[in-house]
């Protein structure tokens, strides 16, 4: 079995963002990493331009289902979990697994065993439900068309993870794409200026892709400076 990821979006009361982040870094991360096969991987926060403020995003990786079970059984009603719960006003939870072309897996991304200081990285964080019945077509399109596009063609936005919800893990079917913003100039061009109509005509890749998906929810997020994976 491939790696399983616990993805959570924590709703926070305004003004508690810093305290929550410190709690996760200093209290929760060590609890996660104390479990065999469990690693706290990523902490993200909303940017000033993000759709939703007052939320934080965490990703925990499990080597296999046994590691997931060990973590869940031990922590589902633990003191540490209740302390985390007390710091937030709500939470959305997903269980995800990598898709076969997932860049994170292909790069054999190593997850450090604790916080690592470094520069923050900006991301587009997308949940994408496919057109009903088109998840397989959407995956094929991503693997065969999207992954073949250059960074320049993708406006300086580079896919870092491509995962999907598993049974028992949230809205299905749904794809989770986390894309690193590497080129600010290209991003400004993408956001501030219209895409030429020629790019959207019948026969273009944008047109073909719309057969598989045309809805998504984007968050403009950034990794914390201490996030194990930036």
């Amino acid at each position: 079995m491939s790696t399983l990821y616990l993805h959570q979006i924590h709703d926070l009361r305004q003004g508690t963002e810093a305290a929550f982040e410190a709690h996760v870094r200093d209290e929760w991360l060590p609890v996660v990493n104390a479990h065999e096969g469990s690693r706290f991987a990523w902490y993200g926060t909303a940017t000033s331009a993000a759709r939703l403020a007052d939320e934080a995003i965490t990703i925990v990786a499990f080597d296999d289902m046994s590691a997931f079970e060990g973590f869940a059984v031990a922590e589902r009603e633990s003191t540490a979990t209740r302390a985390l719960r007390a710091q937030r006003s709500g939470v959305q939870t997903r269980l995800l697994r990598p898709i076969d072309y997932d860049p994170w897996t292909a790069a054999d991304t190593a997850i450090p065993d604790g916080p690592r200081e470094g520069a923050t990285v900006a991301y587009m964080h997308d949940f994408v439900p496919p057109v009903t019945g088109q998840m397989r077509g959407y995956i094929d399109m991503m693997r065969e068309r999207y992954m073949a596009l250059s960074s320049q063609a993708l406006s300086g936005v580079v896919l870092r993870t491509s995962w999907q919800t598993v049974s028992g893990g949230g809205r299905m079917p749904e794809m989770f794409n986390l894309s690193e913003i590497r080129d600010v100039d290209a991003l400004v061009a993408l956001i501030a200026h219209e895409i030429p109509r020629d790019y959207k005509q019948m026969g273009t890749w944008m047109w073909e892709a719309l057969a598989t998906r045309d809805q998504w929810t984007t968050r403009l997020a950034r990794s914390a400076t201490w996030s194990p994976v930036k």
Binding site: Q14, G15, T47, S48, A49, A50, R51, L52, A53, D54, T120, A122, M124, V128, I181, V184, D185, L187, V188, L190, I191, A192, H193, E194, R197, K200, W207, L210, R213, D214, Q215, W216, T217, T218, L220, R222
Partner: protein, 220 residues
């Protein structure tokens, strides 16, 4: 002045036909009524909101003009075109607001809203769900607008609140224009920093959309 805010989730392959139908068929006819003007058409670019999300604003002088507009959409001269637009969408959320009279958007009155060609511009629409009085929140936004710096990343150009006030969800909406591509580039290059000029309402929950006006949008 009242404002109808419509948030459209458009079918992906209907993006261009939807834009064209609004531009060529619907928007120009809205102003055939003396008390109604089509005010703005925005798309949320990727990164700015939901996929294929459009926001439109329609300004109406008063509730009498609103009643006429509703009748035109239901059974009048706009009804067929409105039905055609509906068929190109997955969802439409329409809400009625009062535009704060100090808003720059209100300065020129209804006749300032005309469908002309001009460059696109980038905006952000912040919707704050407030805990206290809506009027206090609107006053706080006005105060921030009046003390704004010309060097800010964004400048406030409009503020509106529900026509039903606190009988409805107490959401105060603030539309701000991004100063320039350079200002946007500088803001994205420093993702840990807040954008300057963005309204702040302590205690409120914020929902933000980045919006790009189309070339024919009256608000630009």
């Amino acid at each position: 002045m009242l404002l109808i805010q419509d948030v459209h989730i458009v079918i992906g392959r209907e993006e261009l036909p939807f834009d064209d139908a609004y531009h060529n068929e619907f928007a120009p006819r809205v102003s055939d009524d003396r008390g109604t003007r089509f005010a703005a058409f925005f798309w949320a670019p990727h990164g700015g909101g939901e996929g294929y999300e459009a926001v439109t604003l329609t300004a109406v002088a008063d509730v009498d003009a609103l009643a006429r507009h509703q009748e035109r959409l239901a059974t009048g001269d706009l009804a067929d075109r409105w039905l055609e637009l509906e068929a190109k969408q997955r969802n439409l959320q329409s809400s009625l607001h009062v535009l704060a009279d100090w808003s720059p958007l209100a300065a020129g009155g209804l006749d300032a809203f005309t469908v002309d060609d001009h460059p696109t511009a980038l905006f952000r629409l912040d919707a704050f769900t407030v805990e206290g009085a809506v009027s206090n929140a609107v006053a706080a936004v006005e105060s921030q607008h009046r003390s704004a710096s010309p060097h800010d990343t964004v400048s406030i150009i409009g503020c509106w609140s529900p026509y039903l006030g606190e009988l409805a969800e107490p959401v105060v909406s603030v539309l701000s224009r991004v100063a320039s591509d350079d200002a946007l580039r500088a803001a994205f290059a420093a993702p840990t920093q807040p954008w300057t000029g963005v309204p702040e309402l302590p205690g409120a929950r914020r929902l933000t959309r980045l919006l790009r006006s189309v070339t024919w949008s009256p608000v630009t």
